[in-house]
């Protein structure tokens, strides 16, 4: 009965590691865009920048 919980926890763990690896990969390989808001969840200044784009 508890087996499905173990599987679910493994899946969540692997997903989180994959997500972090992806974020680190993006941080290291994304070309320097001069975007000061890169990586931030955002504020009104970021919204202005996105509207400009």
């Amino acid at each position: 009965m508890g087996m499905w919980q173990d599987i679910a926890v493994c899946v969540i763990g692997i997903s989180v590691i994959g997500y972090i690896a992806y974020k680190v990969y993006r941080m290291l390989t994304k070309p320097k865009s001069g975007d000061p808001c890169r990586g931030c969840s955002g504020c009104s200044l970021k919204k202005e920048g996105r509207m400009k784009e």
Binding site: G2, D6, G34, P36, S41, E48, K52
Partner: protein, 800 residues
Amino acid sequence: MGFIRGKEVIVIQNAPLKDPIHYRVMGYDVSLRRSDAALIEVVSAGDFEKEQASSIQDTNRSADSFILPFENELQAIAFHKGKTINVALVGNPNCGKTSLFNFASGAHEHVGNYSGVTVDAKEGTFQQNGYTFRIVDLPGTYSLSAYTPEELYVRKHLNEEQPDVVINVIDASNLERNLYLTTQLIDMDVRMVIALNMYDELERHGNKFDHESLAKMIGAPIIPTVSKTGFGIADLFNRVIKVYEEEDPVIRHIHINYGESLEKGISNVRKTLKNSVDIPKSLSKRYLSIKLLEGDREIEAFIRTLPGSETIFQERDRNTALIEKLLQEDCETAFTNARYGFISGALRETYEQNTIKEATSTQIIDLFVTHKVLGFPIFILFMWIMFEATFRLGGYPMEWIEALVEVTGNFVRGHMSEGPLKDLLVDGIIGGVGGVIVFLPNILILYMFISFMEDSGYMARAAFIMDKIMHKMGLHGKSFIPLVMGFGCNVPAIMASRTIESRNSRMITMLVNPLMSCSARLPVYVLLTGAFFPKNASFVLLALYVSGILLAVIMARLFKRFLFNEEDVPFVMELPPYRMPTGKSIMIHMWEKAKQYLHKMGGIILVASIIIWFLGYFPRHPESGDPFDRQIAEIENTASDSQEKTDAIKKLERLKAIDHQQNSYIGRIGQTIQPVLAPLGFDWKMSVSLLTGMAAKEVVVSTLSVLYMGNSDDGNQALPERLKQDRDTEGNWVFTPLIAISFMLFVLIYFPCIATISAIVNESGSWKWGIFVIAYTCVLAWIVSFIVYQTGNFFVGLFS
């Protein structure tokens, strides 16, 4: 000549040397120089190709038709292009440009009642009367010289983007100063409509202004507007349409008469410039002559690129010397005086000030708020009120959210079978995210106060009051604005330091900004002050913020002395009139902040909580737990059924849980770094939470929440209670009020979050400064916490 809208132009051939070009239009032939042809807008096959890229769905067309456009298609594109008007908003800081932009384009751009809020241009579009307006809101600037980044940016935009119409927004309550920029726009020979903004204030003061006469005098229509309410904005854009279609009766090109000496100089330099064929026709030679005589660095750099520039400079220098001899002042001052003379003359004929001098409400309020003795205590009082409201008012919704988190946790605990997923959900996700989300009301209230102070104009007064202190810090009063923005978030605050002209002051402002306690640290403060200082929470909060400011003062002086010791340039600090902020703008700011906070919950906080739970949960069944299991089994097997037996088993369970956590991965990490932080009074859990807090400061609380969730005998206990009751293996309190203060000071000072480091690296242009900030903040945090803890411990030991 036939080059009228909607007509087809055929290129016949280029002359040898490729200039001029032979065209055919409306049945006859004409040749034009390239520079003249560049002034005529056409729609070509290239534009058609762009349109095609967006309309590939039409499958009934033949393949050829995607290569060669039909005539009616080109006409349609030309018609559409003709109906798109590019508009630039230009004006002084605080004249209401961004409010007008927001109203027209429906955007929610941030409007602050202090200069320096718009540090970059913003774009928006809207439709009116069948026309599409592409509006660019440029940074506020007092003039178009070449001194500040804002001025250069605006000039660059006007010269390179060449908007169809410029809307010059002027503050009707301060005509003389605002019209100075207008005179420079007249020199640039741009098509312009003037928005006479804040017209309601002009009328309220009882002043009379014949704007229609002034419009005829300067050849630019003037439309009264009130951008806060939208009054006059539709009329304004209707007038823009008329100007664009060249149907406006008022529009005409005028020259400001600078007086005989200056006009002679302009004429002489202009003649020399006329001989240069490399100057684009779109650039007014009169404007270039004026700028050269003023010694404008940017124009000089441009002229230097032209062939024959030595001749131009020689003529300029000759005329400059002559003007300075005749007028006994330098050229730039002479031009400035002439412009103000023009403005003065124009206003004398059209403007009548209300002679009954009443003290405005702004002046009355400023008597107290900027008083040299009362000003500072009033500022401290406002800050105390802000923190008191943040803590007290925020406490109520905080309890509701806490209850909701508890109900959710209990629901999962009660309805799920035992297993790791249940532990992950309850202790990890609900514990971690729930532990931070409860502080949302406090953060919103803090932001509400900051927004109110910004929008009302009080923030500018605060900068004025703090100016003397800022100078003692070695900074401008202008640095105060980015520093105060740091109370919200350090990232936009560091970006706002772009408005500071002096590089040294800019660098110092950026380096000390992390010491301004941002809103992300607030959950840590509210948690610990609520647990250990419930009766004096607002004082403790205020003391923390003041500590951050004092440390910023000390560090700024040190940086000024040892790293950036160039002399400061003087500056002008604007004091705009007080305005009652609209509830809508404050709500918008709060909503933006709430969205950002919730986004963080679903992102970094959730990920961090899951990772911390994993590290604390594994490895399972370490051998070190076996002795506890044996002892528990031994006690359970005893015959007696007393309370003593139950208590003994509970104690062993607790020790087993502590042991498990200490032997988990996170426990091992914590114990590795704990010796470094032990002199500050921190145990391994606090050390781990500080480590994880490097990602985002809220993670400090979610880490503590996850680490403490599984510890208590009562699963329903709130985190503050768990912190207060936590004991180590020897039975000593882990958290005391002194340790709480030491911990909060450490959180205040150490390692700004990754986003802040990234902003510093971007703005300073070097990784070196990012690493420097990490190093100095961590070292400073350690030293301050050490001093506070050890000194406090000494006095506690002395008096106990």
